[in-house]
């Protein structure tokens, strides 16, 4: 019985301690518009699931506590009806929590993130992943990205294989591991990779998208806070995956124009 008390205590302690520990941690501070929806989704899950987790562990503790003290078993078999009622009700309740969350909170965010057409004045950027850096490109004043060709790739001077003879290429702005964007404007980032799969991860912006060779997925979002943030790679891409690091600067509109002009001037 002492032993049973200890086991019951263990389950109760893990349940209570778990919720306490979880409540004390938080995601990187939010910096994007759609991210508020993702955080709402996460908070909904943390609260509902946290409560269920606590209830489950306390129930387990209570069942162990009382069970070990019992000399004669309780009712041997539940009726078929009672079985259906209990597990059916809890199963459906759980599905309601899970699916309800997706339908009520999740899908609107998902739609905002993926399905809303970006406005005409969105800032277009192309990011090409490469072991182990991010090649960043702005289309320049003409708003058109110059053509690229893998056979033109030259790590010394042309990491993405830009065809410099084309007219559209002339004003393209290239940086490495550094993205600068204006605050509160829609940013559309086209992702490419020239070797293996990378994943473009902006923890503070709730943005994560794999950069897959042969594909050009696009992420569209609105930064809401100025500052300098980190870019990480979230898909195993080789030896230096853990430091395929970049900087994502969110600045005011005039600062952005300044910065871009400085980059354009050779």
């Amino acid at each position: 019985v002492t032993e049973a008390s200890l086991v019951a205590l263990l389950f109760a302690a893990l349940g209570i301690g778990g919720v306490w520990y979880g409540a004390g941690t938080s995601m990187p501070e939010l910096a994007s518009r759609h991210g508020a929806g993702i955080d709402a989704m996460m908070n909904y899950l943390l609260v509902t699931v946290g409560a269920l987790f606590l209830a489950g562990y306390l129930a387990l503790a209570w069942l162990v506590w009382t069970g070990a003290r019992r000399r004669v078993i309780g009712p041997r078999l539940a009726t078929r009806r009672a079985e259906l009622m209990l597990s059916g009700a809890l199963g459906l309740g759980m599905a309601l929590i899970a699916e309800g969350g997706v339908l009520a909170i999740g899908i609107p965010v998902w739609a905002e993130y993926f399905n809303a057409a970006p406005p005409a004045d969105a800032v277009a950027i192309e990011v090409t992943g490469q072991q182990f850096m991010w090649n960043v490109r702005y289309p320049g004043a003409d708003g058109v990205f110059g053509p690229t060709e893998p056979r033109l790739i030259d790590d010394a001077g042309n990491p993405i294989g830009l065809d410099r003879r084309a007219a559209a290429s002339q004003d393209d702005v290239l940086t490495i591991n550094e993205i600068t964007v204006p605050v509160n404007r829609t940013i559309r980032i086209r992702l490419r990779s020239r070797d293996v799969i990378h994943s473009f991860f902006l923890p503070h912006f709730r943005v994560k998208q794999d950069a897959v060779p042969g594909m050009t997925p696009e992420v569209v979002f609105v930064p809401t806070r100025t500052g300098s943030f980190e870019i990480a790679c979230a898909e195993l891409c080789g030896l230096a995956h853990y430091r395929m690091q970049g900087t994502f600067n969110v600045v005011s509109e005039p600062e952005f124009e300044d910065w871009l002009r400085k980059q354009e001037a050779p």
Binding site: P28, A68, A78, S87, L90, A95, I105, N115, V196, V212
Partner: protein, 602 residues
């Protein structure tokens, strides 16, 4: 030559009682090494799996040393592993190989071997009242192919470039191009060959279990009288048979891409290691679809037996029937069916269409219905119980606990919107370790403690086993619970170190605590090893029905003779949970007790 061992008496033979051992001096090799007896093969799988687990655990220690103390120089390890840890600091390429091999070994060569193939082999024929598996020779073949596959994998540590380093998911192009990472030289090829062998072996074994359940059940053993253990192995085996072939195909395609110039997974214009590749027209996403079409059912192949085993261990220590047997069976079937159509939830941010993502999200979360029902049934089985906290029961309780916390994590990851932030972070690592790591590990220990007396005719030491429980469950929970929140803070998985990012500064303390808990966990397993080895030779003698349980394996001797039931085929009269009766001195009836002696209650 002992014909008794080589030939299984055909089903049509009259069941004449035979002495347990026809030959008093059976040839050692035929009995213990190249045996077709499902019990010997089961134990072979279990021992092989436990040895592989030692390797997997050693790799886990290396991972935790690196993540807990990223800049520390481990002088001793530099002497043990001069190329992997030059100067005592782990090389990044070695870290990736260690992570890849840890995952591969634990999923395929520990849990699959011990819990699925090992206990599946040992228990299914005994619990359905058969003399052996439906195809004993195929069974032996499956074990030897499995052993070959394990040896092949271990050999890959010693080839040029080291072991495979593209993760256990082996996403191309990283896994397809030798120049992408050192492990993608010979190591990846050997990894793929080992996988192909593993799948061949697992298919033979799964086919055998399905055939055994269909065709060799004892008279009276209707499907709805089968113990949940048998049900879970039956469904897991069907899933394996349906899901594994696509991965075999994918493995062959990746081998062709690697060595014969095809482009299944490689698009045009790849520039790896300053070399422009000539491949054209392939798709890296194709691999992900094929891999996860296997990969998701595979987690249920591992976890369903864990749940089934726990359900059969519970009533022996609550002394009353499990709650909702029929509903649990239908839940297992529903989970099995649903698990085949949800693989895309591993690919929410892969570049797959976001509309497909929402489909996979909604279908994935419908799995919560049968899984919650199953979990609630396990928990409700403790209601009104006269609980006995013997070692198998402690681990069965741990199964329930981890199944709960692991399942809750699934609600986050199955939700595409939440997964956008959590994908490929430590939240995922924490989640799958709770489920296919923890639920299965706890069930494996529960099963080992529970059926050890049956296997070896001796009991394990209980105080030592209880100490083992405390040193296993608590640290395990702490490690992987905390990893969820390290992931919530944004820490990506498969990172060699978290030292370069500002936003991950807060995770360093958590990683230190996790590493300490991991060392406690691994050290605690020594108690089990000592207990296991000591008890095989010196444990106290166990009775035929050591735990007063009801399923058929407890109606024969411990260990059961060749042919299992001493020639007399059992006849089944009742379901597997006839506990809590009031019939004379005992409170239970085994499945072969006729209705005239003890009334049948379900």
């Amino acid at each position: 030559m002992t014909t008794a061992v080589l030939e299984r008496p055909s089903e049509s033979e009259p069941a004449t009682p035979q002495p347990p051992h026809e030959d008093p001096h059976p040839e050692f090799l035929r009995t213990y090494v190249f045996s077709t007896d499902h019990k010997v093969i089961g134990i072979q799988y279990i021992v092989t799996g436990l040895v592989m687990a030692l390797l997997g655990a050693a790799l886990a220690v290396l991972i935790r040393l690196q993540l807990g103390w990223p800049e520390h120089r481990w002088e001793l390890l530099s002497r043990l592993l001069p190329s992997g840890m030059p100067g005592g600091v782990m090389a990044p390429e070695f870290y990736l190989a260690v992570v890849t091999m840890h995952g591969t070994i634990m999923v395929f060569f520990f849990i699959s071997y011990v819990l699925v193939s090992g206990f599946g082999n040992y228990l299914v024929p005994l619990q359905v009242g058969a003399r052996d598996m439906a195809f004993p020779f195929l069974n032996m073949l499956s074990y030897w192919v499995a052993l070959l596959s394990a040896l092949t994998l271990v050999a890959s540590f010693f080839v040029q470039g080291g072991a495979a380093a593209a993760g256990w998911t082996a996403y191309p192009p990283l896994s397809a191009v030798a120049a992408a990472v050192p492990g993608s030289q010979m190591g990846q090829t050997i990894w793929l060959l080992s996988m192909a062998l593993f799948i061949a072996s697992f298919t033979m074994s799964g086919l055998n279990i399905v055939a055994t359940v269909f065709s060799t059940r004892a008279p009276g053993m209707s499907m709805m009288r089968m113990p949940l253990t048998v049900w879970s192995y039956f469904i897991a085996s069907i899933l394996g048979l349906l899901a594994f072939p696509p991965l075999t195909a994918a493995a062959v395609m990746l081998l062709l891409d690697r060595h014969f110039g095809t482009s299944f997974f490689l698009p045009s214009g790849l520039m790896v290691g300053n070399q422009l590749l000539t491949n054209q027209g392939g798709s890296p996403l194709l691999w992900q679809h094929l891999f996860w079409f296997l990969g998701h059912p595979e987690v249920y192949v591992l976890i369903l037996p864990a749940l089934g085993v726990a359900c059969d261990i519970l009533p022996a220590f609550t002394r009353k029937p499990v709650f909702g047997y029929r509903i649990s069976v239908w839940s297992l079937i529903a989970v099995g069916a649903l698990s085949m159509v949800v693989w895309g939830h591993h690919m929410f941010v892969s570049g797959m269409s976001p509309f497909t993502g929402e489909y996979f999200s909604l279908v994935t979360l419908t799995i919560t219905v049968p899984m919650t029902i199953f979990g609630v049934n396990m928990l409700a089985s403790l209601w009104g119980a006269r609980l006995q906290l013997r070692p198998p029961m402690l681990f069965a309780l741990a199964v329930i606990a981890l199944f709960g916390s692991g399942g809750f994590g699934g609600l986050f990851l199955g939700n595409a919107t939440a997964d956008m932030q959590l994908h490929d972070t430590y939240f995922v690592v924490g989640h799958f370790h709770m489920m296919i790591g923890g639920v299965t590990l706890m069930a494996t220990f529960a099963a080992l403690y529970f059926w050890f007396p049956k296997m070896f005719g001796r009991a394990m030491n209980e105080p030592l086993a209880k100490a083992h429980f405390w040193l296993t469950f608590a640290p395990f929970f702490i490690i992987f619970f905390m990893q969820h929140f390290v992931g919530l803070q944004g820490a990506p998985r498969r990172y060699y170190a978290f030292t370069t990012y500002d936003f991950l500064r807060e995770t360093r303390d958590a990683n230190l605590i996790i590493s300490v808990a991991a060392l406690v966990l691994v050290a605690g397993q020594l108690l089990f090893l000592i207990n296991f080895v000591w008890s095989v030779f010196r444990g106290s003698r166990a009775a035929a029905n050591h735990w007063q349980a009801t399923t058929l394996e407890w109606t024969t001797a411990s260990p059961p003779p060749h042919g299992n039931f001493g020639g007399a085929e059992p006849v089944v009269h009742r379901w597997a949970y006839e506990y809590g009766l009031e019939c004379g001195a005992s409170d239970f009836a085994t499945q072969n007790v006729p209705a005239e002696r003890v009334p049948v209650t379900a």
